[in-house]
Symmetry: C2
Subunit: 121 residues, 2 copies
DNA sequence: ACTCGCCGACTACAAGTGTAGCCGACGCAG
DNA sequence: CTGCGTCGGCTACACTTGTAGTCGGCGAGT
């Protein structure tokens, strides 16, 4: 249910890739393009804990952070939000949309067809 | 390229449905659940103009507002953003995601299959 | 010509987000 | 035992978003 900002998401991605990590380790792993200071990473981690999407365990005087939500769950939540916001909750118009915008390669089409076939009764 | 918030989007939806409209008309048409004051709608319209996603024409001493971007373009932009943020820019994992979460009805499956078939060379 | 109401402009303010500095405390190297 | 570096916590500040109030001016009715 919690909202995660773009910058915060970068931290989540690190933790989803590897956990538990100390704040310093997270900082090392955050994409360099961000050009973040160590402070920034620490703030992100605090806020994410406050939101309950990151958990930590104390190890000596450091914290070891881990994600408290699954990436899958978050992705599903965000997908649902977009669908509701823009497509009346239906997936078909979204696919149609992307098709019209050339975001669908022939390979995508094959894959999705296979996927759908597997889903049929 | 511009970011539109949730509340702002409600105004855009009104204008996408009917335009041009005066601020007062927009206010009338915004979903009542929002419980907005007239002021709020006026603020939204100013901000949306500042962002360049809404245009206006002066009519006497009132403004007639119209959307300056297509709903389609915006939907495509937001879809792309989600895909990039969560699914490596690929649609297949998104569909797989939604399938696993029961957001796909048999009817959706049929529709999308038909859609994809039409796209094939 | 005067007044009244409506209009956009401007102002306000709290919450959230991006970014970062400073500080007191704790532990390790001499 | 002492100093120094490291760690989380706290503070800061600008910008965005949601929500709304006030105000000066223009136009319509009398």
């Amino acid at each position: 249910m919690e909202r995660i900002g773009d910058a915060e998401l970068a931290v989540m991605e690190v933790l989803w890739g590897e956990a538990p990590l100390t704040a310093a380790e997270v900082a090392e792993r955050v994409p360099a393009e961000r050009g973040w200071s160590a402070s920034t990473v620490k703030t992100m981690l605090s806020r994410l804990s406050a939101k309950g999407v990151v958990a930590y365990r104390e190890e000596g005087r450091r914290y070891l952070y881990s994600p408290a939500i699954d990436r899958e769950d978050y992705a599903a939540q965000e997908s649902g939000r977009l669908l509701d916001r823009m497509f009346g909750g239906r997936l078909t118009p979204l696919v149609a949309q992307l098709a019209r915008r050339d975001r669908l390669s022939p390979r995508d089409i094959e894959e999705i067809e296979a996927l759908l076939k597997a889903l049929k009764p």
